[in-house]
């Protein structure tokens, strides 16, 4: 059965994933909109930076974050100067890392959705004297709804499945950084196979249920690799 420590890890995982997904939608929407609309020479560079976590092994990202966010790293010096302390081994650090790690899974579906809207609905809205902000909220967002749905689900589930980054910067602290994937790994290492089975089974059932809903009930197009 699931112990209370196991339940804590499940709860913490959902807390990290919810918060990270919220932040990714907040930051990723304007970014994806800009990427979809711009002709700027920076587009390629920004696209490449946002997509890096798709290609990098999580351990690379985790290692750099550990060094950069540490007391002698650039980000660490900044956060210390701001009086926030350093980020590794904290809940906030885990959320920041998750946002960086899962961002392409949010930005790319949104960017694709925004691109596919095209110019016509925007021009029609403009002729009806809708302000750009009004157009965005009453035309773009409803039209891009499938994109938002895919972005939310992919961002959330990808954060739930995060492991390598957390292992590098988490420090395995109960209720702060001990997420479910790390707990499963530790159960296996400690030869606690039945505990590992229970947690792993929960995660498998959850992931399958989410994807089944996505593909059958909501009839979304199969999500393949977001790069394609």
């Amino acid at each position: 059965m699931l112990t209370s420590a196991d339940l804590d890890t499940l709860f913490l995982t959902f807390k990290v994933a919810s918060l990270a997904t919220f932040l990714m939608l907040l930051l990723g929407t304007p970014l994806a909109w800009w990427l979809a609309r711009t002709n700027s020479g920076w587009k390629g560079l920004i696209n490449a930076v946002v997509s890096l976590p798709l290609v990098l092994p999580p351990t690379v990202l985790g290692f750099y974050l550990l060094v950069l966010m540490g007391p002698t790293g650039a980000i660490g010096e900044l956060t210390s100067w701001l009086g926030l302390g350093t980020l590794p081994f904290t809940f906030a650090g885990l959320v920041v890392a998750s946002v960086l790690y899962s961002m392409p899974f949010v930005v790319q579906p949104l960017q694709a959705a925004f691109t596919s809207i095209g110019e016509q609905p925007l021009e029609a809205a403009a002729t009806l004297r809708a302000s750009p902000l009004d157009t965005f909220f009453s035309v773009v967002i409803p039209l891009a709804k499938p994109g938002f749905l895919t972005a939310t689900i992919l961002g959330f589930t990808h954060t739930v499945g995060e492991f390598g980054v957390v292992l590098m910067i988490g420090g395995n602290i109960p209720n702060k950084t001990r997420v479910v994937s790390v707990q499963i790994y530790n159960h296996v290492e400690a030869l606690e196979y039945s505990e590992a089975h229970w947690l792993a089974g929960c995660l498998l059932a959850f992931s399958f249920a989410v994807l089944l809903t996505l593909y059958t009930v909501l009839k979304t197009q199969p999500v393949t690799h977001p790069l394609k």
Partner: protein
């Protein structure tokens, strides 16, 4: 060259190839993370002395025991404790009577900052630190020993909220080395060079402050037919190997 001569040449070269493998074989060794530095040196000496070669994989003992119980390819396990090899023996994965203790580990309280840790470990009571790193006590014997030390000093309850746990001792070292944790418990072998702690500062924990960290080696059934496997285990007990083990701060097996 006629076909006959050609096939003879092929057979001859294959024979040479096979004879080569019987003379100089390769053994796959799973090595507990704390023993990575000495074992790298020992393997190099072993190759020079015997012509066999040893391929080393480093990680936590728990993970290796898990893998070996599920068909893992390693022929020798050099564990950080005696429990792992014992468990594999009970489950019938090892060659009977091949288990022995190859080294006894020493624990050190270490910081990357020079002069930070005094040679009595008083910093544990007086220090104003935010993080104390140790290996997960459930998985790593060095972590379990660290908990014993803290309990003996009556500091466990007070310091537990500051714990950051590495999955193995190498990761614990990384937490401290990057200064993310001000100090922590690691294996002496990780920070010692030529008998001295050269980087940062440390307190070598007296060995009666915790249960001895007796590190066990065992030959897996997979390696029974490989001449390099027993050769390496024998080499571990030889004088040159013991000298390397001692150099890295380990106590020699009793």
């Amino acid at each position: 060259m006629s076909l006959n001569a050609c096939s003879r040449a092929v057979i001859l070269s294959m024979l040479l190839l096979f004879s080569q493998t019987t003379w100089a074989a390769t053994v796959l060794v799973a090595v507990a993370a704390n023993f990575s530095k000495p074992m790298t040196e020992i393997a190099a000496e072993f190759e020079k002395a015997t012509g066999h070669s040893a391929h080393l994989s480093f990680g936590s003992s728990g993970k290796f025991v898990s893998q070996l119980g599920n068909g893992g390819p390693f022929e020798i396990l050099l564990s950080a404790d005696e429990k792992g090899p014992q468990k594999l023996e009970q489950d019938g994965f090892t060659v009977p009577n091949s288990r022995f203790v190859y080294a006894q580990g020493r624990l050190v309280l270490w910081s990357a900052k020079p002069g930070y840790i005094d040679d009595q470990g008083k910093i544990l009571t007086t220090g104003n630190f935010k993080h104390l790193a140790l290996a997960d006590p459930k998985l790593a014997p060095y972590g379990a020993a660290a908990v014993e030390v803290l309990k003996k000093q009556g500091l466990f309850e007070k310091l537990q909220p500051l714990f950051v746990q590495g999955e193995n001792i190498a990761q614990t070292y990384q937490f401290i080395n990057t200064a993310n944790a001000e100090l922590g418990f690691v294996a002496l072998s990780q920070v010692i060079e030529n008998g001295k702690i050269t980087n940062g500062s440390g307190w070598i924990i007296p060995d009666n402050d915790h249960t001895p960290i007796r590190q066990g080696a065992v030959l897996m059934k997979k390696g029974a037919e490989n001449p390099a496997a027993p050769a390496l285990l024998n080499y571990l007990k030889s004088a040159p190997a013991l000298a390397i083990i001692k150099k890295y701060g380990y106590d020699l097996p009793q």
